[in-house]
Subunit: 347 residues, 2 copies
DNA sequence: ATCCCGTGTGGGAACGATGTCACAGCCACC
DNA sequence: GGTGGCTGTGACATCGTTCCCACACGGGAT
């Protein structure tokens, strides 16, 4: 019995290298490199010949080798909290488009709101020698770590290292103030706030905006109406049920992100309350469902796609000018008035 | 006048290499490599010393150099059509989780349904020497191209190269048949179908399922009720408006994906038709809004997150066994009956 | 004739990590 | 006191690319 073996190892031809192209075109490796990259001299007929040989062989330069030599890659790292949340998905989509237009490839990781996954991913990005990183941070750790490795970072949506790293955020405070003021203007005095972590800049700013609008309307803050809930529809729904079933329920709710809004909305539906008859609802961060449900839900809309795209632009500028002062870009938000807000019920 | 220059180039210290670790630990580069990778001998006290030195220096091995030497990378390419569509976002989220668990990093590109962007991205992935690629293909070009470069490919959601490459899809035909049969069972005879490209396997299979269910119910197909619309809410909404305003309108609509369903739903709302009183609606591909609108929308649900995760598992297996026969995995779907389907109005 | 350009090409050393190979100790056993 | 088998270490070539340098050629100026 004999064991037959393939002629070529793995039965598949080796990927062509620059050396193969050089031999096919009858020139040296250096000349091929010059002809393909356009850096340095190459006679036009030689260049021609090299290009033809490269195309025939299906040669694709090895980014690994190039990066190793040049010590700069054309990849960006993007770390987002949760791709299943349309907010982050759209952010990533915007980043993807802008990255492609600027000739970067995008290494993406979903950090699932876990600090561990986040630092694991950060280390992978250092190992990959990415040119820069965009992150929706959960703590200041990522920015610090990456910066210590000389990798430019842009924080998006929320900031933990403002001052030392660039940021791209939206007008959280003014947006929250506008939303709350809208409710105040309609005559509401008992306005609940559903908010995520208030130690995040987004949460903090939105909370401040809420407070400012209440203060402007001469309304005293009722701590019982401020609920700090996590990033979880089920949880916020439960918290909303508790509040709405309780005595002295609010006449309006401001939900500070789309997930919380979904939870509140489901709670309201479940209780059979009428919107906006019994209770008004307004959200920060517009999501598709808000314009589909009945009644449609008023929201402070942020241009999330643009948020991602802007972050990539900022990062690209930073990569080109590493020593410039750090910048925080604030994008405008706008109130979309729909059907879920109206004056409170008369008592 | 003198021009002052920084002492160290760029004013920032070089990233530590394995050589720095070796010097700090007082051993050779080889020993450091062995100690860190665990391949080959290393006395425990030496290993200890090396680990400490590496940690102190904040050493992170250079993936570029490692990949160049080993000729295998630990990155996967993921090409999806549109991250703004929750279907693809969830798919990517599933892929991301599974990739991370298996120690892969994920290079993601949003191909925006453009063939050009798709092949551009494919070339970038070849250049990156990724270990494998997951793609929701727009044509057979990507799979062919990548395969010709010896890169394993898994087609997800739809297939263009079944037989020569692996695929992970859902039970499109059976799902569509179930949905349509559900309507037939309720007594509907005029059932419209909104479908995307029928030259994609998803579209084709769902169309076949629809036909099968009609045939089983002894219903003749009315070509006027089959609308092939693109991936665009606005377009499908317009097409739905035309159909629903016309004479002889259907008593039920089966929308073959979440985008088409959104268009149809918006058209129905716009016309003020009652669901399911005037018209029943059922969708393929459950989306969050379907359980939030009133009435809630019945749908054939696919486990999209799992689709992405399964594709990564398949790809990983393929990477380990490149010569095995190609496999197509079919995931089950299930009908979620909600409020949007009921018997047709009596005439 | 010598020098110096500009143009064009090839040789060879990096980049950082891996892994083969050689070899140095050390012990045990004939 | 060889031999053989371990454990443990270092030298060195290698992966594919870039880019600095050397050099060759022809032509014009010195």
């Amino acid at each position: 019995m004999t064991i037959e073996r393939r002629g070529t190892p793995l039965g598949r031809s080796r990927r062509p290298t620059i050396k193969d192209v050089a031999e096919a075109a009858g020139v040296s490796r250096s000349t091929v490199s010059r002809a393909l990259t356009g850096r340095g001299y190459a006679a036009s007929d030689v260049r021609e010949r090299v290009l033809r040989a490269a195309a025939e062989l299906g040669y694709v330069p090895d980014v690994m080798a190039r990066t190793l030599k040049q010590q700069v890659s054309r990849s960006l790292g993007v770390l987002v909290s949760d791709l299943r949340n349309p907010f982050y998905a759209e952010l990533a989509a915007g980043a993807s488009r802008e990255a492609r237009e600027r000739g970067y490839t995008m290494v993406l990781a979903d950090t699932s709101l876990s600090a561990e996954a986040e630092s694991e991913a950060a280390e992978a990005l250092v190992a990959l020698r990415v040119a820069g990183v965009i992150v929706t941070p959960n703590s200041s750790a990522v920015s610090t770590y990456l910066s210590s490795h000389g990798i430019p970072v842009v924080e998006v949506d929320r900031q933990f290292a403002a001052g030392s790293t660039d940021g791209v955020v939206v007008g959280n405070r003014v947006g929250a103030r506008t939303a709350t003021a809208h409710l105040v203007g309609l005559g509401h005095r008992r306005i609940a706030l559903f908010i995520d972590e208030t130690d995040w800049t987004t949460g903090y700013e939105r909370y401040q905006g809420y407070l400012e609008a209440l203060a402007a309307g001469d309304i005293k803050v009722d701590p019982a109406l401020v609920v700090s809930s996590g990033w979880d529809v089920t949880d916020s729904r439960r918290r909303a049920l508790d509040m709405l079933r309780g005595p002295d329920r609010p006449t309006a709710v401001f939900a500070a992100n789309n997930v919380l809004a979904e939870g509140v909305w489901r709670a309201i539906s479940g209780l059979g309350l009428s919107v906006p008859g019994d209770i008004s609802l307004i959200a920060f961060d517009d999501a598709p469902w808000m314009s589909m449900v009945s009644p449609t839900v008023s929201a402070v809309s942020q241009d999330t796609f643009n948020l991602g795209a802007t972050a990539v632009r900022r990062l690209d500028e930073r990569i080109q000018m590493p020593e410039a002062d750090s910048v925080t870009t604030v994008l405008n938000v706008r109130l979309i008035q729909r059907e879920s807000t109206a004056p409170p019920p008369v008592i």
